[in-house]
Amino acid sequence: MTLLPFFEWCENTAIGEAIRNSVWLFPIIEAFHLVALALIGGAVLLVNMRLLGLVLGGRPVSELARDAHPWFVGGLLVMFASGVPLFLSESIKCYYSVAFWVKMSALFLVLVFTFTVHGRVTLADEGRVGPVQGKLVAVVSLVLWAAVGWGGRWIGFS
């Protein structure tokens, strides 16, 4: 069994067709996708760079993580709300794009990681997480997010 029929169905949806037939829709939706990227990027970098000891050393990780969380989730929602229509407009191209599959695999992994291991480490009380453990978690998160970003940008070049 292959996923191709599903991708074909996606491409034929009314939303996909409307975006393909419009000059403005794709770029406008993509610009929203970019704005949300900046928001997510800011929240993710802030918390991970704190775990790495690069910013705001005097502040508890859990406090920063709690403050950043709603912006991360908000950014993620805009990412999905803009990313899904973009995908619907060129599903078959995505199906054959290696970058798309890299992005989706990395996205799946990083979301699972963020809402399990990463979340537990960042919200844990100070002192319960070893410094090495925290840094390792930050590096894994950053590498996965970088793969998501790289894959995303490269879909456009494929």
């Binding site: 770029p27 900046a38 997510i40 990027g41 760079m49």
Partner: protein, 190 residues
């Protein structure tokens, strides 16, 4: 020498042609531009949101600013260097591109906002450093900055499109804004 002739000269240089014609170089520089966006606009947005008074409320503004700004500057430097390279790859088209022009104007406004903030109310930060909801003037500066960066991202994204390129059948206003005067219209009926 006019700016346009400077752009024309830039476009004829070897490295401009190399960047423009390379399969990967342009894409890689553009990816770096997008990555640096996370660091630069992302951190700027976190600070702006604090100025507006909606997040990191227990962190003093001066602490957040002093810790985030060095990284914001790193992001800004990468943004400018990669941005200049992207411009250098297609100088003449960028010169005539209305979104590129709009982006430059918005960048100047954003810079002005930063300068006014730092030389103005931020000098008295000690008096409102711990405010969960900073003074009105501070909140306006933060909100203005957020709005400008969103507009800059939008105009930057739109540079890639040729909707208002010179030579297209379009209104005189657009031709003036893009300074198309000397460009021959390939669609013109002789």
């Amino acid at each position: 020498m006019s700016l346009l002739t400077l752009c024309e000269w830039l476009e004829s240089t070897r490295w401009s042609i190399a960047l423009h014609e390379s399969v990967y170089a342009y894409a890689i520089v553009e990816s770096i531009h997008v990555w640096a966006l996370c660091l630069f606009v992302g951190f700027a947005a976190m600070l702006d949101l604090r100025l507006v008074g909606v997040t990191f409320r227990r962190v003093p503004v001066s602490e957040l600013a002093s810790r985030l700004l060095p990284w914001t500057r790193v992001g800004f430097t990468v943004m400018v260097v990669s941005g200049i390279l992207l411009f250098y790859a297609i100088p003449v088209r960028s010169y005539h591109n209305v979104f590129f022009r709009l982006k430059l104007v918005l960048l100047v406004l954003a810079g002005l906002n930063v300068w006014l903030f730092h030389t103005g109310i931020y000098r008295r930060v000690a008096t409102w450093d711990l405010d969960v909801r900073p003074p009105r003037q501070v909140r306006i500066a933060g909100a203005l900055s957020l709005l400008l960066w969103v507009a800059i991202i939008f105009s930057g994204r739109m540079i890639a499109y040729n909707w208002f390129d010179c030579g297209r059948p379009q209104s005189d206003l657009m031709n003036v804004l893009a300074e198309c005067g000397s460009v021959v219209d390939p669609y013109a009926v002789p």
